[in-house]
């Protein structure tokens, strides 16, 4: 947990100029891979410029975007926002949580897509779809 806080602070302080505009009051940018045992808790959106490894955890009240492989556990909309989304370059989570929904990948290994995917709640279930930029 302390790791997570440290990550947030340093992420906000060491931003390259071109990325600064990405950060509004409630978005935090994590500029590294989160390894096993590391976590980020944030009241807002979380963007990770790296991977989220198995055993790492992100809990955000808003959306979660991972510009790398998401292999750990993430919870978007943690205070109940069912409109929150999770977007990852490679979506391979151990478990996904959005608001009060929990899903995990199917046991039998299926497809292994090499494109970004988006998870969100549709008609009361968490669905995964190919991400394209005009998704809303």
């Amino acid at each position: 947990m302390t790791n997570g806080i440290a990550a947030q602070n340093s992420a906000i302080n060491n931003l390259p100029v071109e990325l600064e505009e990405l950060v509004d009051d409630n978005t935090v940018l994590v500029q590294r891979t989160l390894r096993s045992g590391q976590s980020v808790y944030h009241d807002g959106n979380v963007v990770v410029l790296g991977d989220v490894n198995p055993g790492a955890e992100i809990v955000a009240t808003g959306n979660i975007v991972v510009m790398g492989a998401l292999r750990g556990v993430v919870h978007a909309g943690a205070k109940g926002d069912a409109n929150a989304v999770i977007l990852a370059f490679r979506l391979r989570p151990t478990q996904l949580r959005i608001a009060n929904h929990i899903t995990r990948p199917p046991e039998e290994e299926i497809s292994d897509p090499d494109y970004p995917e988006l998870a969100r709640i549709k008609n009361g279930v968490v669905t995964i779809e190919t991400f394209n930029s005009n998704f809303k």
């Binding site: 790791n3 096993s36 045992g37």
Partner: protein
Amino acid sequence: MGEVIVVTSGKGGVGKTTTTANLGTGLAAASKKVCLVDADIGLRNLDVVLGLENRIVYDIVDVTTGVCRLRQALIKDKRFEGLHLLPAAQTKDKTAVNPEQMKELCEELRKEFDYVIIDCPAGIEQGFRNAIAGADRAIVVTTPEVSAVRDADRIIGLLEAADLREPKLIINRYRPKMVNRGDMMSIDDMNEILAIDLLGVVPEDEQVVVTTNKGETVVRDDKSLSGQAYRNITRRIMGENVPLMNLEEPSGLFSALRKMIGLK
């Protein structure tokens, strides 16, 4: 001023002590002055692996508590002039030493030796914090198993948090045949998660056990693949650029024939 390198892993039994002993021997064989420090207090092993158990008089806790001077506790290896061991205490536990004392110890050792290599205990508690306290660089050992890789990832995170940047990876007990069958994680699989520089890959090899049980190190065995792997890693630590070796064992009818007619 010498360099202090900690050998660590998170998960137990993946080959930290074996690695420490072989790198120490390899560096000493290259005429370096080396001190191996057994930081696994309470589960002393390194002395046994090096065949030096019966020479222990004082140990690391005797040094940090002032019972003896550092020089008195150092044990000279029987084979290599430049190789020394600072043994762990067997009758104490990890709390008998603190990180501050370890730092001082490492500072003192680096004045005398080219390389100080610390054998870290398994786990992420005080024993780990002691072992990394005085180190300049870290080597992370893993085996190609999901749980070992997970623990290695945890350790890399902790090392980075402790400002031990850019740790290097050793993959131990690698079995190419199992990897080819898809039954074992490949080098690429591990690199995808851990994403740190690879220092070397040591194959599974019964010679490791054979030599260890005799108080010898496989790095001195010219015929074994694992010995070659450790010699390569030793050279990389000294800054040489050595390509990864081919770990595939020659197999099949053709090589069996070659063996028969004495070509190999």
